[in-house]
């Protein structure tokens, strides 16, 4: 790798006569890691990079894969979306990695996607997202909306008897889509238009006074009210603080968040948050052998007893496990073979039970609702019976209700229209 850097250095300085040392016959299996190590997303993504490294290390302890050692190739897309495409190309062409674990934000995934499909790479995407996508070259181990948002709403509706809904989110595609889906879902459940309040705020919004007081008055009209929050990252702290200060407690107006996990909580004073909810497929607090083993392994690996684990980490964990299984099953790291072998793979959730990889490249996972405790952990208050299969195309959006993804013959298409029986928009 070093050499090639230097070489392409010469290339640039003295013209493009590059002695591109084509990667020598792989005696190792290369695992690309495409997570931002600098810039705004570094906060979340470095954790995942470490997780992958940890898994690789563990796998190598077990004697590697197909008798070869795994070699992690880490690059830094620096939270800069175009860089994700560039780095993906670098990983696939220069380093010739066999698989990539990476991306956090949707935009970074969207940016890397065309390159993946052009060069037929394989990527595992470990974060909950808005769905509406299924690529041959990507496996989505995070939650689709129907694995997070909808169960959460069900819980609020049935167990807490919520009648009025505030859908508050940061103004970008994940909240937009999720809220569209929820809106449709709630209306289908017979919630009236005026009982739904939708509100969008810019990234890192810090002055929540008016919005919170709106929510307060919205909630003061007798019916039980809840906030479904797709507020992202930094905006959360001031939001919860304002809630606390305006005296809105979790008993009055519970907030269920989809982007607040252990990692985020570790950065804020949980006093005003106690009792508010979050919906994930994993909580660190869940008691299971696999989980406690994972946690202790993580703390050992990072050498920090206070490090917390979170849902995207589990998603990475599951993805990695499944990939190794698939490679063993296929007996090769060839993308097409592995892609087919992936479908139907099963591996143990950290929360107990088995995760299952569906034909649409999304997982079947259990959904948990947790209440925030004053120690920054979640107390599971509800969980789905059995697992929920991830839905690539939401049934609640007019655009996508007829679409399905099925990567097995005869369909083998990411967006197959069940009505017109056509498969549109593939890049190959």
């Amino acid at each position: 790798m070093k050499i090639k850097h230097l070489v392409s250095g010469i290339a640039l300085s003295m013209g493009a006569s590059v002695l591109s040392v084509s990667a020598m016959a792989a005696d190792t299996i290369k695992v690309g890691v495409l997570h931002s190590l600098s810039g705004t997303m570094a906060i979340s993504e470095t954790t995942l990079k470490d997780t992958v490294l940890m898994m690789v290390e563990e796998q190598n302890k077990k004697g590697g894969l197909l008798g070869k050692k795994l070699e992690a190739v880490v690059v830094d897309p620096a939270s800069n979306w175009p860089l994700f495409a560039e780095k993906t190309r670098e990983l696939l062409t220069k380093d010739q990695v066999d698989v990539i674990f990476g991306c956090w934000t949707s935009v970074s995934r969207k940016s890397a996607l065309p390159v993946l499909e052009e060069l037929n790479g394989l990527m595992f995407y470990p974060v909950q997202y808005e769905g509406e996508e299924s690529s041959k070259n990507v496996f989505y181990t995070g939650a689709a909306p129907n694995q997070q948002a909808i169960p959460a709403v069900d819980y609020l509706m049935n167990d807490l008897g919520v009648k009025r809904w505030v859908l508050a989110g940061t103004d970008y595609v994940y909240p937009r889509t999720t809220n569209k889906i929820l809106e449709a879902y709630l209306k289908a459940k017979g919630v009236a238009e005026e009982d739904i309040m939708i509100n969008y705020t810019p990234f890192g919004h810090s002055d929540w006074q008016s919005i919170v007081s709106d929510i307060k008055s919205f909630g003061a009209e007798g019916k039980k009210t809840a906030v479904v929050s797709t507020i992202n990252g930094d905006a959360n702290v001031p939001f919860y603080k304002e809630l606390g200060n305006q005296g809105i407690s979790a008993e009055d107006i519970p907030v269920v968040a989809f982007s607040v996990g252990e990692e985020e909580l570790s950065g804020l004073d949980t006093k005003p948050l106690v009792g508010h909810l979050a919906a994930w497929n994993y909580f660190q607090s869940v008691e299971s052998d696999a989980n406690s083993a994972f946690i202790s392994q993580w703390k050992a690996f990072t050498g920090n007893p206070d490090r917390v684990t979170n849902d995207p980490m589990e998603a990475t964990y599951i993805g990695f496990k499944m990939w190794t299984q698939a490679v063993e099953k296929a007996g090769t790291t060839d993308v097409d073979a592995v892609e087919q072998a992936m479908i139907g793979q099963e591996t143990e959730n950290l929360t107990g039970g088995m995760a299952y990889m569906n034909k649409n490249h999304h997982l079947s996972k259990p959904v948990l609702i947790g209440e925030i405790q004053d120690d920054g952990q979640f107390e599971v208050v509800w969980e789905t019976e059995g697992v929920v299969p991830g839905d690539a195309w939401s049934d609640f959006l007019p655009g996508s209700k007829d679409l399905i993804a099925d990567w097995t013959a005869p369909i083998s298409c990411g967006n197959y229209n069940t009505v017109t029986k056509t498969c549109s928009g593939q890049n190959y």
Binding site: I43, P202, D207, G222, G244, N245, G247, E251, K271
Partner: protein, 535 residues
Amino acid sequence: MRYINAICACLLGLLISTSVLAEPPSEAQQPLLLELTEVKLNKALPVLQQLETTEGADMLALFKTMLNGDLYYEKESKRLIAALKEQSVTRYTDLFSGEELNDLSKNQVSKIKVNNKLRGYLGEAIARMQLNHPDSVVRKDAVRSLFSDLGANTIELIRTARLKEQSRSVQDVMDVALALYRTEHAAEATDRLQAVKVLEGSLEPEVRNQLTRLAENDPSRSVRKAAQTGLDKIDQKAEMYGFINQLFFGLSLGSVLLLAAIGLAITFGVMGVINMAHGEMIMLGAYTTYVVQLMLPNMIEYSLWIAVPLAFMVSGLAGILIERLVIRHLHGRPLETLLATFGISLILQQMVRTVFSPLNRQVATPDWMSGSIEINPLLSLTLNRLYIVAFALLVFMILLIVLKKTSLGLNVRAVSQNRDMAKAMGIRTDRVDALTFGLGSGIAGIAGVALSQLTNVGPNLGQAYIIDSFMVVVFGGVGNLWGTLVAAFTLGVANKFIEPVTGAVLASILVLVFIILFIQKRPKGLFPQKGRAAE
């Protein structure tokens, strides 16, 4: 229920003293208490309900402890324990005997979990028990927290309590509660009408909801009319208070802008230095607060007061350092100071990232700053905002005095107006520059302390405020503190009045565009410096 927090807060004190039950639990209660330690979270509610109703010891302390999530039980003996968390250590006391159990360790006890359902119930139960509490404030809050669901037995309790109630204010709320019940259940229209009359003038949201219901679908016409008039009155009031509320929001946003910008008003306005690292000075202040709380975990309440001077010094010194090392060499090249200081800001950010991880840091809010004072059910001002408004104005005043009255201020003004002349008169301009820059940065540091109470303490804190700060200073007119003050509050209030109409995103865009256009109209801002010196 919305007042439970308040109750908890004011009871926390009592709790410690009264965390011992009056008498040991009765036979009837024992099994329930035992069950409480074993039952699953979602099955716990009935147990508690029984506990409330069964004869025997008063369960107030138990409920309070549980509500605060301090209720534990010893694993083998199954006896209930109250945990008392003091910043670092946790003390356990037997809930019944009240004896200290210092030998107990964390793994010998296990927590009795609560969730929102239980919290909700506990809150009401406590409220019911508190109807005869010695303190009238507590009684009042108790009654109000019962408004949201007035069952027959609750009403009974209130009615009995009402008979021996002395305090006027408490009587009123009790009457409201009873009236609410009557409007709901009284068969006689006249009866309901009376009740409605009682309700008039009360601003409680429950009252409003009830009136709306009555106005829509009460069988009796007269009642509907009465309810409607009542509603209209409330709505009028609501409108007014809504306006006041918005104004307050605007002012508090303005005060934040003021804090963020005022340091810049000095470095930029007086010295003409474009300090792109200004945001990072704020950030340093915020991190200072964090460190202070880290160092003195038992003094959270005072941490801010300690942090303010420290933050001033930290950022101030950083500022002086920057001035000495970089800005000094770029004199009279403002655009280049802009570039250099931007570089510095990058370095500072990355430094913070490496020193204290890229994650946001947790800065606790002292109790005296959290919560809000409720003027009436429709209007309550959050404490932290109030304090920050006051704080901002205080800082502003002090700064004015420093610049107007002290010799430093005199020198600063002299240098800012005519550097060469000042030099000629033996003012050590370079020293003045350093101090001025230090002062500006120091103020930014203080702002950081305040902001740490409102928003994230993280590496990006500074970036979030730098542009706004510049906007404020430029809009207000460079070199004019009063201008900065006016600008900050104008922008704050404007923003808050646009926001409900357009949404937060558009609001901030509109404000930006407005400033851009305004500057085209008046390049020197609201209060330009006149005269030859300015040209």
